[in-house]
Amino acid sequence: MRALGHLYMALSALVLALPIVVVSGAALNGGRSMFFPPQDPTLSRFAEFFLTEPVWTNALQNSIIVAVGAASLAVLLAWPIAYMLWSSGSKLAQVIAGLGSLPFAVPPIVFGVGLGFYWGFLGGLGDLWAGVVSHAVLLMALPLVTISIGLQSIDRSHLDAAATMGATDAQAFRTVVLPQTLPYTLSGFFFVLVLSFNEFIVMFFVSASSYATVTLQIFNSLRNGYTPTMAVAAITFIVVSIAVFSAIARWGDLPRLMGADQSRN
C-alpha cells in the first residue's frame, strides 16, 4: 500500500513535469522548428532571447516592469487593508477586503474585459502603467491573505509588553509588527511577482496590442508556429518560479502559508 502511494505520487509528478520537460528540451534545437528530442542541440537560442532578438528582449523588459511594479503596488494596497482588518476588524474593513479579493475570485476574462473598457475611458489603454495597476488589482488578494496570516501570528502579549514599556503605537508598529510580518509581506510580494509574470488574459485585454509581455508575445507567435526561442522563455519562467518559491520555503514557512496544521511537524 505504501509503495502504491509512492508510485502514485511519482506518476503525478511525471505527468505534471511532462509538458515542462518537453518544452525545455525543445529549447535546445539548432534549427527553427521544435523537435523533441532536440536536433543539433545548441544554446544560441538563449542568447537570442536574452540579448539579441529585440522582440524578446523588449517583451522580457515589459514583463519585468509589470511584475515588479504590480507586486510592489499590490503589497502597498494590501497592507493597509490587512492592518485595518487585524486591528479593528470593523465591518468596513471586511467589506474592503472582500472587494479587494473579488477580481481574483471571478473568471479572469470578465475582469480583463472590464479593465479594457475601464482604461479605455480613463485613457490608459495600451500604456504600461495601466498594465501594472491592472495586475496589482487582480492579484492584490494574495498579499492580503499572506499579510493577514502574518498579522495573526503576532503574539498580542508582545504588543502589550511594548505598550507597558512606554512605546507609542508607531514605535510598537515599527519594532514589533513590521519585523514579525516581513517574511509574510515578502511572500505576498513574490506570489504576485510570479503570477503577474505568467498572467496572460487580463494583460491581453489591457495592452490593446500596443506592447507585449513575454506571455503575450508567445501567444502572438502561436499562430506562426513554435520556435525554440519560445521554449527558452518557458525555461526562464519555470526557473524564476522555482527560485522564488524555494526562497519562500527557505526563509518563510511554506506549509503554514498554504494552511497546514501547526501542531504537527
Binding site: G5, I96, P107, F121, V137, F205, A234
Partner: protein
Amino acid sequence: MSVADGIDVPLGDRPAAATRLNWSKLLPWGFAGLVFALCLVPFFLVLAISFGRKVEGAAWVWDFTFENYQRFFVGTLWPDEVTFLYIGQLGYSFWYAVIASCIAVLTALPFTLLLTRLRRSAQAAWLVFILSSLSLSEVFIVMGWDILLSNNSGLPALFKSTGLTQWLKDTGHFQTLRDWGLANPRNVKFKTSDFATILTMSYLVWPYAVILLYPALSRMDPSHSEAARTMGANNWQVLRTVILPSVRLPLFGTTLLLFVFLLGTYVAVTVFADPAKHTTAVAIYQNVRGANLNAPFGATMAVILLVSAGICLTLGHMLNRWAAAR
C-alpha cells in the same frame, strides 16, 4: 480651573488635533473609495456596456436595450427564427469546466492525502514543485501539450513508431477511437478533440486542487483513521467511512472554485477544441477584441458568464450549508 486649562492650550494645537482625528477616520473611507474604483467599477462598466448598441461601421453607443440579451438566448430574429448558438457555447463552457474540475479534484485528492503524510521538509519541497507548476502560464502549458499531442510529433508519432497504432488496428480498438474522434484513417490524432481540451484544462487546475485541498487534509486527525484500522477496517473502508466524510465539504468547495475558474479558459479552448465546440470565453474575445468588433455583445456574454458563475457559487454555498446542517 477648567477655564484656565482652556486658555493654557496653545492656539495652534487644537486644529492640529482635530485634523489628525479626521485623518484616522477618513483614511479607511478613502481607501474604500480607491478599492471600489479599482475593483468594482470595471465590473459595473461591463454591465453598463452590455446594454449598449453596436453601430455598423463604427464602434458602439450607450443605450438601454435588451437586444444583446435577446440575441444571446434566442437570436436576433426572434420570434420568427430561433437560434441557440450562444447558449450552446455557454453549454460547452460548462461541459468542459465540469468534467475537467471533477477529474482534477478526484486525481488530486489521493495525491494531497499522501502529501500530508510526509515529513514537513518533504512537504515544503513538493509544495515548491506544485506552486511552480501552478504559476506556469497557460500559454506555456498549452504549448507543451500541443507539442505532445500534435500529429507530427509527440504521442501520435510515438504510437506509430512503437507499433501501438498497428496493434490497435489489429485488435479492432482503432475503430472505437475513430468513433470517438480520436483517430484519422492513418493514425491516432488528439487535435482537435474534447479529450485534449479536457486533459489540458484539468492539468491547468490540478496544482490549484492540491493547494486548495491541502489545508483541510493536513488538519485531518490521523488518529481517526488509525482507530478505524485497529477496529479491523480495511483501506477502502477507512477511505469511505472516515476520510471522505470528513473532507466532503472542502472537496465540494474546491471543485466548485476550479469549475468557476475554468469557465473563463481561453487559450486551451482556442488551441485544442473543435471550432464548432468553442466556448463563451472565445466568443467574448472575438466580440471585444477580435474580428466581430461588437463590444456590447461581448460585454453581455461576459455578464452572463459572471452571473452563471455566481449562481453556481451561490447554489454550492446553499448546498454546503444544507449538508452541514444535516
